[in-house]
Symmetry: C2
Subunit: 137 residues, 2 copies
DNA sequence: AAATTCACTTGCATAATGCAAGTGCTTTAA
DNA sequence: TTAAAGCACTTGCATTATGCAAGTGAATTT
């Protein structure tokens, strides 16, 4: 993706330089909400990312300290991907995108509807709870 | 950009299908915070979008009802671009990206620093005020 | 010991992006 | 009133990113 050349020093532009493509936030979404954390798990997602793109995104997300690679407790052939603090801090962004999408798209999965209901009931509580869950796991 | 084929019915994925590229949110940012609203204004932004990409993004944003084209009050040769309600509703997304970027990037423009201070002081008030300003203009 | 799983790579076709120059209508200045 | 400049784009072409299918090598299961 990006050759790490920032277009400006605007935080929005810089953020997009890191994860402003069609796939990075999908990976981050899976790590946040679907607890998918191995390479193979990401491939199973509905959006059907291709293997080379997945590998390249995981690499740049890792380089930018948004995710980290860990040893899998049960297997030497598996790799665990996890969000760092910096990655977990993207939760509010993902939530707001989810809310916007929930408002303007129909046919949203039931699982997502449930999640959005929780968020709408008490956003602060949801954030706190989810951050804790992600940090502890 | 996208040929309007949704990858899944996840709201995050659908949202990214509409504006998940490197430029769309830059245009939306300009409309929200920099009051830039003509084709030429967008070209003046620091990030230096090229003319053909700008034209194509404006077209898809308009097709997706995120922005709209209006006649310029003073000139027949100019065009005014404005955020629709749907576009204005992206404000929370932009704010959260700004906050994340503000936390993880240095050398942020003074103008942005000021804005972020306002947001941090009272996010709800900032949102309300900005939405009103955008809707009225 | 062979087959399978797993996390990737590689090669190649297709699509998106970026740059420079051009078009045609509108507005300004002489 | 006419020439020059401004404006919102288009066009052509080179470069880069994406997407698909097949392959690789180490670890694990059978």
């Amino acid at each position: 993706m990006s050759k790490d050349k920032e277009r400006s020093n605007c935080p929005i532009s810089c953020s997009l330089d890191l994860w402003g493509d069609k796939w990075s936030l999908i990976i981050i979404r899976d790590l946040m909400f679907a607890k998918q954390c191995t390479y193979g798990d990401f491939l199973k997602s509905e959006e059907k990312i291709s293997t080379n793109i997945l590998a390249s995104r995981l690499k740049t997300l890792e380089q930018n300290k948004i995710i980290e690679k860990l040893e899998h407790p049960n297997s030497k052939s598996k790799v665990l991907y996890k969000l760092t603090k910096k990655g977990i801090d993207l939760l509010p962004v993902l939530i707001e995108i989810n809310l916007w999408g929930g408002k303007y798209f129909s046919d949203i999965p039931d699982k997502t509807k449930t999640l959005l209901k929780e968020v709408k009931k008490d956003k602060t509580a949801f954030l706190k709870r989810t951050i804790k869950k992600l940090a502890d796991s």
